[in-house]
């Protein structure tokens, strides 16, 4: 098992649940036992949850695994059936689970400039929190979910916040233009400045960042900068291994890779999506938790099981006290209708349809109706 986070832990649990009682080695390059990332931009960053609240293992949970933590996997040798580690060791195994997740994209030229952060790991969150509590002006580059959540948390902590988004509408990719505009209007509702349709040219500052320079010539003063421009799958260690890579590890609808005895799960894996008819890399918590079950069934059966159709992808986000939930695929929808609530109240249940059939659903503070639609989506699409 390579990658010791949510997908790796879920795969380890599935292995034991499905009756595998042999040796299990979990390799992870972070020093921490598996922890929960979503609170890193929310409650943990706000200071209302501590590190002990983030652990993903239950009290007393024992998977009888050997944890090799703080060491990076550098290669997979399929012929020798071994994973190579950065410290020169090799781990031999009969089956391999790739669960190396994703890493935050950085802003070129920001290396070594104090005050500039990305947010992916517990260590990132600690460092950012230490600066946020001192207050000041925060500029968030990228109006995606993580950027928006950081903005919302920092606003609640009393910082002066600006969000910069290169696209005309934030979240248009995952939510579509219409609803992306509704959700990102939460920033303005709270007096957080949102600048759209303008790229970032660079950062200014000697050792400490002091401003973000925009392509239109403006300069936005900043004490702290958070770069939230997405994540890239951590798969470079697999190059040359024979595992086919294409925006992550290319997988079948049950996590099988191009190599026998190797499956991939979580943010690093691009599974074939039978509903969409193409491969998709899903970067959501629920996928990393649910899908390993199917992947492990495939691994244990030597690929001899017929893949089922996984539930439509689901994710949530919490911003400015509003619970945002989304399931399905917005791309490919030809209409969006508000079935309940009102966009102006930021209390909405919106259904995305393609040729009249529901393909996705978005809820803002609508958990009850959202669940009804989410179930329906799973049953029909």
């Amino acid at each position: 098992m390579v990658g010791a986070s949510l997908a790796g832990l879920s795969a380890a649990r599935s292995l034991r649940k499905q009756g595998y009682d042999g040796r299990l080695v979990v390799i992870g390059d972070e020093l921490h036992r598996p922890y929960d990332r979503p609170p890193l931009s929310k409650e943990f960053l706000a200071g209302t949850l501590g590190e002990e609240d983030l652990t993903l293992e239950a009290d007393g949970e024992d998977l009888s695994a050997e944890w090799l933590l703080g060491v990076r996997a550098t290669g997979l040798d399929h012929t020798a059936r071994a994973v190579r580690l950065a410290d020169g060791r090799e781990v031999h195994a009969d089956g391999f689970v790739i669960a190396t997740g994703a890493a935050a994209r950085t802003f070129p030229g920001s290396e070594g400039l104090a005050g500039v952060h990305t947010l992916r790991t517990l260590d990132d969150a600690r460092a950012l929190r230490d600066e946020l509590v001192r207050g000041g002006r925060l500029v968030v580059i990228g109006g995606g979910f993580i950027g928006a959540e950081v903005a919302s948390t920092a606003y609640a902590l009393g910082l002066e916040v600006t969000v910069i988004e290169a696209a005309p509408t934030p979240l248009a990719g995952p939510l579509g233009e219409t609803m992306g505009a509704v959700v990102s209007a939460l920033h303005a509702d709270h007096g957080v400045r949102l600048l759209c349709g303008v790229g970032v040219k660079g950062l200014s500052g000697e050792r400490q960042v002091d401003a973000v320079l925009l392509e239109d010539g403006r300069s936005i003063p900043a004490d702290i900068v958070v770069v939230g421009v997405g994540a890239r799958p951590c798969v470079e260690w697999l190059e040359g291994s024979g595992v086919v890579l294409d925006n992550g590890v290319k997988c079948g609808a049950d996590g099988r890779t191009s190599l026998a005895g190797v499956v991939a799960v979580g943010d690093c894996a691009s599974w074939y999506d039978p509903r969409a008819g193409h491969h998709r890399r899903v970067e959501h918590w629920t996928g990393a938790r649910e899908r390993p079950e199917a992947a492990i069934a495939t691994l244990l059966a030597g690929g001899a099981v017929e893949p089922g159709v996984p539930r439509p992808p689901y994710f949530w986000s919490d911003q400015y006290g509003v619970k945002i939930q989304f399931a399905g695929h917005a791309t490919g929808a030809d209409s969006v209708t508000i079935e309940d609530g009102a966009a102006d109240d930021r209390n909405v249940l919106a259904v995305y349809r393609r040729a009249g059939n529901p393909v996705a659903v978005l809820g803002m503070n609508q958990p009850r109706l959202f669940m009804r639609w989410r179930k329906q989506l799973a049953a029909t699409s």
């Binding site: 879920s10 929960d36 652990t55 293992e57 629920t286 938790r289 949530w316 939930q325 009850r368 669940m371």
Partner: protein, 119 residues
């Protein structure tokens, strides 16, 4: 015993939420069994009545921890504590709940709110 609702008003696969403090939900499974649990997830402020019921489990509508309807046990984090279970009685077509005397496992945020409301 607290009256919930007539059995005829609670179809299989549905849940009924009682506005007790803390709230309690009665679940009617597809197999026709009735169970009562504290309605609030032990992780954060989510109503389990809005959850996804499959077999003997209800999945939290927010972050997918599952609770066993019979025992209240949780399958895996992010929720870490079981929910409290209550006894269900049906008399003359009416569903009643006999509240447990055990302490509930409310999430931090809800417990704080309740404590705050009392002062």
């Amino acid at each position: 015993m607290i009256p919930a609702c007539p059995l005829a008003d609670l179809p299989r696969g549905e849940a009924f939420r009682l506005e007790t403090d803390p709230p309690v939900s009665v679940f009617h499974t597809e197999d026709g069994e009735l169970f009562a649990l504290d309605d609030t997830c032990t992780h954060q402020d989510a109503s389990l009545a809005d959850g996804w019921v499959e077999d003997c489990w209800v999945e939290c509508p927010l972050h997918a921890s599952k609770f066993n309807l019979k025992t209240g046990e949780v399958d895996a984090p992010p929720a870490k504590l079981p929910v409290r279970t209550h006894q269900v009685v049906v008399e003359d077509g009416m569903i009643y709940v006999k509240l447990s005397t055990a302490a509930p496992n409310l999430p931090h945020c809800v417990a704080r709110k309740l404590a705050g409301a009392g002062t």
